[in-house]
Amino acid sequence: MTDDNSDDTARTDGTGIVPPDDETPTWRERKERTTGLSRLTYEYFERSRREDQDLREESDYVERDVLAFPVWPHELIRNLALTSFFVGMIFFLSATLPPHLGAPANPSQTPAVILPDWYLYWSFGLLKLGPLNPDLAIIGGDKLLADRTYGVLANVVVVGFIAIVPFLNKGSARRPVEQPFWAAIGVMGVVFAVFISALSIKNLVPMDPHLLFDLTFLVPPLAGGMAYAILKTMREGYMYDLNRRYYKLRPPK
């Protein structure tokens, strides 16, 4: 860097004054920004961006340089604080609320209520989509495919869709506002998982089972549409432009 901008030598300690462009706020605008967290976020990004820019402008810069905070002390102090909090919370809860040890299970007696673990309720609910299954009957009137077979095939559909998503969207977005459509797809999936789980225990849900069945398929698209609209609106905001400007300076891959 000995050419034209020698008067503006790169300072990598983060104290350099950022040259104004059309997106840089003036000092008056900076002083008028009084909310704490957004100001802190702004200064953090601006400083990181400036450090990246300074390092890139050095003549011996090569792309393999890793531009980030060092692991010690920055990352480790933060991680130790988080780890200490969660370990302390485990100690606190195990000391104050010791778990109840029930009677040992009786293998010779079938329990009254048989349910899978809660994280498999969605798969259990897919077995209860009877009204959706096509009635393909042969002459005798027997169904060609039983409802339970359709239930297993529904699992294949759901797992297949989840497996396809990474091939449709590479996941380059850092946050939902950058790709509202795919974020809305994700919201739809989460809401569908919640409702299909509730459907699997419909005898325990204080609601009309038919209404719950309809809601299972009507609410997820509605929630996805609402998430899409909200995220599209959030893209108009100030912080989105700021973050996009910061990440534009990142290497493409």
Binding site: T35, G36, L37, S38, T96, L97, H100, G102
Partner: protein, 86 residues
């Protein structure tokens, strides 16, 4: 705005944690029936009675504290700005 969110969240989680522990001590007669919402035992010492009062106050502090900072304070600021702007 973010500070108000943190205050509301801190009240919700902090008071909720205290409520959960005390309700686990005093309002969980057995693990088969109602948990955290059961009826407290009849014979309680003065410490136990104080704990019941503290438990109930923590429950409502968690709810109304979060409501205050997430709804009340922003609403008050909007109204104040509107009145000042007139």
């Amino acid at each position: 705005m973010a500070d108000e969110f943190a205050k509301g969240l801190g009240l919700l989680t902090g008071a909720g944690l205290i409520w959960m522990v005390l309700a686990g001590w005093y309002k969980t007669p057995s693990f088969e029936g109602a948990q955290l919402t059961g009826s407290p035992p009849g014979e309680l010492s003065m410490l136990g009675e104080l704990a019941i009062v503290f438990l109930e106050s923590m429950f409502w502090l968690a709810i109304f504290g979060a409501l205050l900072f997430w709804v009340g304070v922003p609403l008050g600021r909007e109204l104040y700005a509107k009145v000042e702007g007139e």
